[in-house]
Symmetry: C2
Subunit: 168 residues, 2 copies
């Protein structure tokens, strides 16, 4: 099993109204109305062609302020510890986040996006189109999340560095 | 804008029946029936707790055999060049793939999965639960993919190293 480290490079940055851990919505679904921008480096502008036709895109990004990995954490939407991989908490072995945001416009190196739940100045890793056929599944079992179906998403600083770690 | 490189480490490996670029389905939706396993390293076994309750999970992985990034490529489901970020082609600046697969069982360090579209021995980067509220959107505009709605997903070697590069 391969275990050498791999190198990734930010391809740009995400800008949002959310400056502090605990101020950001925990998922785009709780971020209706929040607008931000995605700015790609010059080398990647040409690769944005055809993106404006998509209503939504996936942003993959680096949780640069996340606390170190712990195998079990208490998620925002629950009050019990859960296996980290059964949660979307940012304190992951590879702190890669993914959010499905709304495309408002694409101009030059800038994508204006809606429903953004990402902290300001987050390093951008990838952009992929959202495709219903590939990404939308009508699942009937969602583990511990089924019991949290009506909970609201309020974040705090538990998964971020230098914060009082409620998730420990 | 940050541009230092970041380090990621495989947390395990994905095993599938697909050994060669061009033999794998291009998305889980075209991989119905294909089964594989996800094997995590010992340090991550405890973090698999509670995962079995989920019908589907996201696998994030490293396209280790992908050709280098090109800003425009001809996707499998189209016959025109498109901006790379408007496609799911593997030859990305950061070759990170994501696939939503079905959970069949979780035992020790092994997850048996269905609808797998990933090449055998692919380095695993992350596992996240699939949540309808976060991941399922009824989008009405899907750019060039709208015209490809009834196309079947057949892959070839165009996005892989040492292959005849039809996507160039």
């Amino acid at each position: 099993m391969q275990s050498d480290s791999l190198e990734i490079k930010p391809i740009g940055a995400i800008h949002s109204p959310f400056n502090q851990a605990g101020s950001a919505p925990i998922q785009p679904v709780f971020a209706r109305g929040a607008e931000g921008t995605v700015e790609v480096l010059p080398a990647y502008v040409d690769a944005l062609a055809d993106l404006e036709g998509f209503e939504r895109i996936w942003l993959l990004y680096w949780f640069d302020r996340a606390a170190p990995f712990k195998p079990r954490v208490t998620p925002y939407l629950d009050d019990r510890k859960r296996g980290l991989f059964a949660t979307r908490a940012p304190s992951r072995p590879n702190p890669i986040g993914m959010s499905c945001v709304r495309v408002l416009s694409v101009e030059g190196s800038t994508i204006r996006v809606g429903d953004i739940d990402v902290l300001d100045n987050t390093p951008l890793l990838d952009i992929k189109p959202y495709a219903k056929r590939f990404d939308s599944f009508d699942v009937s079992r969602q583990g511990w999340l089924d019991a949290a179906a009506d909970k609201q998403g309020e974040s705090d600083s538990r998964f971020y560095r230098n914060a009082n770690d409620k998730g420990s």
